[in-house]
């Protein structure tokens, strides 16, 4: 399986990533042997509930989690022919911000309140590109223009609190894009914004992706957002991938009961309005050990004996010959047949 997915120009290749948080009440296994890849120029959406391990996975890639308590116990993150998990901190810093940009969830707190936006934007430019102060300033103005900030020259000396939420997120995007990264990781970048601003940011990202042609990972719990921008979607649950497929394939033929349940929770515009919004009963698991059974089984309406005893591996459910269209699911229950799968 690894051979199949890593073929075809992938820029980021994650193998068997495991991240554990050491807490007073024992270890929490947040990411449990996750493997995925990101192709060049692709926008990969990662969806899942809070606590499914989406953000932890992405931060593990750049070792941004505070350690302790977080520890990456296993795995390999191949980027440009080097394993990011094995780099020295100095080499890693070159990658952070230089080749992989990061946008965080809450633009209100992600910028340093006591430094001007210009200073914060010019910092990576001067460090990674070695620009002089004047050059960095010039580039900073261009970047703010690129993300659609009006009168960028004047705004460089403003502080974050003088910006609105949407404008701050534009600044964050400008910082992430500062050094022309090859990969941009966006961790729920629109979650903290209202819907109008969210739409603006999404338009901006679509435009920038088109102009700059970089690969992106977009973490969200909003399936609507993913449908609008992603090429391919990974659905995560309990620190594992439960389903991955190209975006239209996933929405047309969702296989995993979790994905199906997620899609059902979306209110529909053209159907009769229901009294209550749908939800998936139960809570996402907090894993004290690596899962030995399907982590979704307690909340799954199709769960049967095998789900409680064996954790299902990812398997292809589409035509094995088609390279561009890989649809994988980790489930013992066959959605197409509506019954348990035969064989291992």
């Amino acid at each position: 399986m690894d051979q199949v997915v890593s073929a075809g120009g992938s820029i980021l290749d994650v193998q068997d990533l495991k991240t554990v948080f050491g807490t007073r009440d024992g270890n929490i296994h947040a990411v449990n042997g996750l493997s995925f890849h990101l192709r060049k120029g692709e926008l990969l959406g990662i969806v899942g509930e809070s606590g499914s391990g989406k953000s932890v996975t992405m931060m593990s890639l750049l070792r941004l989690l505070p350690s302790p308590p977080a520890e990456i116990v296993a795995g390999q993150v191949m980027f440009e022919g080097q394993d990011l998990l094995k780099l020295s901190t100095k080499e890693l810093r070159e990658v952070r911000g230089g080749q992989i940009g990061f946008i965080f969830q809450d633009p209100m707190t992600s910028l340093n309140p006591v430094f001007t936006v210009g200073f914060q934007l010019m910092e990576p430019l001067r460090k990674h590109l070695g620009l002089s102060k004047a050059e960095a300033r010039q580039r900073a103005v261009e970047l703010l223009e690129l993300v659609g900030l009006p009168s960028p020259e004047d705004r460089l000396k403003d502080f974050p609190h003088q910006f609105s939420g949407g404008m701050r997120q534009r600044v964050m995007i400008a910082i992430a894009l500062a050094c022309d990264p090859k990969v941009l990781i966006a961790d729920e970048p629109t979650t903290a914004l209202d819907v109008t601003i969210q739409a603006q940011i999404l338009d901006l990202v679509k435009k920038l992706r088109h102009e700059l042609g970089m690969a992106m990972v977009w973490i969200t719990h909003d399936l609507g957002v993913v449908a609008g921008i992603a090429d391919r979607v990974i659905v995560m649950y309990g620190g594992l991938i439960v389903e991955q497929a190209p975006v239209s394939e996933l929405y047309e033929r969702p296989q995993h009961p979790y994905t199906r349940a997620l899609l059902e929770t979306l209110p529909s515009l053209d159907e009769e309005r229901e009294d209550r919004l749908k939800s998936i009963a139960g809570q996402p698991p907090s894993l004290g050990a690596e899962p030995t059974a399907c982590p979704f089984a307690p909340r799954c309406r199709h769960a049967f004996d095998r789900c409680w005893n064996e954790n299902p591996p990812l398997r292809r459910v589409d035509d094995p010959g088609d390279e561009a269209l890989i649809h994988e699911v980790a489930c013992w229950w066959d959605a197409a047949e509506g019954e348990a799968r035969v064989g291992g």
Binding site: P66, R96, N112, P113, E123
Partner: protein, 337 residues
């Protein structure tokens, strides 16, 4: 900012007037007697005459307004005359605030004592800040490490043990037992060459360290908790994600934010150090204003006590204002206009 400053300065005037009145009233109500230290052979009538000559025959409010006039009008005028060598009005007849026991003007006494205090107190506070900030930063960054544990322990001791104990302890160890340092601060010592500088260093080190350790214990705790508050914030992660080195993350991004509350504490703590110096000066025989205050209290020298206490009150009010203004400068989110 300017309007705010002016407004705060104007507010300080009534505050200080009320404070001066309270000090005056407290001293007047206290059962002290400027003739108490005089020999018992002096008959009561003579004592009464002495009291009258000191102005104690006047009613309370007259004496209070007299002091106000002398301290707030006559003394500044006198100072202007001395600095620029001019004469304003009839300066010979203008009454200055005069010490009852030494008969010399209170302000002159204070000015002659101030340099010693400023040297000891000022230096100790600088040393305290220089010790406390790095300790606080490292303790927070390496939370629960051995360094942090030792730092916490030492701070608890430094904060709990009063300066009169640590001061005496240091004298016992370094002066009495080891004989390395002098136990008495010689204010007449003048630094002219390297040897006299070493002598000065030897005599100043103990009072400075005693005061510095006490302040540093407190400040390092503030610094540590302020750093810890900031270390887990999102902007720190952003700085790391930009590829900044740990030293830049810590000493530029986090430190600047953490210093905001600490600077306030530093500014507000400075007048308290003056108060703490009163005891330390007494122990090391530093001829400063702290010692002057103790002597004045013991001799019921009311004008001197009144004036010195008022100066302490003035320092507290001023440093409050300075703290607020620094807050506005360090934190761009705070704008006073």
């Amino acid at each position: 900012m300017l309007r705010y400053t002016v407004r705060r300065l104007l507010f300080a005037i009534p505050t200080l007037l009320v404070v001066s009145f309270i000090i005056f009233a407290l001293l007047d109500l206290a059962p002290n007697d400027p003739t108490g230290d005089l020999p018992l052979t002096i008959p009561p009538e003579v004592r009464e005459q002495i009291r009258l000559s000191l102005g104690l025959g006047e009613p309370f409010h007259i004496r209070y307004f007299r002091w106000l006039e002398q301290f707030l009008v006559n003394e500044p005028l006198n100072m202007i005359e001395q600095i620029w060598g001019v004469e304003i009005g009839n300066s010979a007849e203008r009454l200055r605030v005069t010490s009852w026991s030494t008969r010399s003007p209170v302000v002159d006494l204070i000015i002659s004592r101030l340099p010693q205090t400023l040297w000891v107190v000022g230096l100790s506070y600088v040393v305290a800040v220089c010790i406390a900030v790095p300790i606080g930063v490292i303790s927070a960054y390496k939370q629960y490490s051995v360094f942090d544990q030792i730092g916490t322990f030492v701070s608890m001791i430094g904060f709990s043990v009063p300066t009169f104990f640590t001061g005496t302890l240091m004298i016992v160890i370094f002066s009495a037992q080891l004989g390395w340092l002098p136990s008495i601060y010689d204010t007449t010592h003048v630094v002219t060459d390297f040897d006299s500088f070493v002598t000065q260093l030897k005599q100043i080190i103990m009072p400075v360290m005693v005061l510095a350790l006490f302040s540093a214990a407190q400040l390092s705790r503030f610094m540590r908790s302020s750093m810890l508050d900031n270390l887990n914030l999102d902007y720190v992660r952003t700085a790391r994600a930009k590829g900044m080195t740990e030293s830049v993350v810590l000493l530029v991004h986090v430190l600047r934010n953490s210093l905001i509350p600490v600077v306030t504490v530093i500014a507000l703590g400075l007048p308290q150090v003056f108060a703490g110096a009163i005891i330390t000066e007494q122990i090391f025989r530093v001829n400063g204003i702290g010692q002057l205050l103790i002597i004045a209290i013991q001799g019921a020298d009311i004008p001197l006590v009144q004036t010195l206490t008022f100066i302490f009150a003035f320092l507290i009010v001023s440093f409050n204002l300075i703290a607020d203004l620094l807050y506005g400068i360090l934190d761009p989110r705070i704008r006073y206009d």
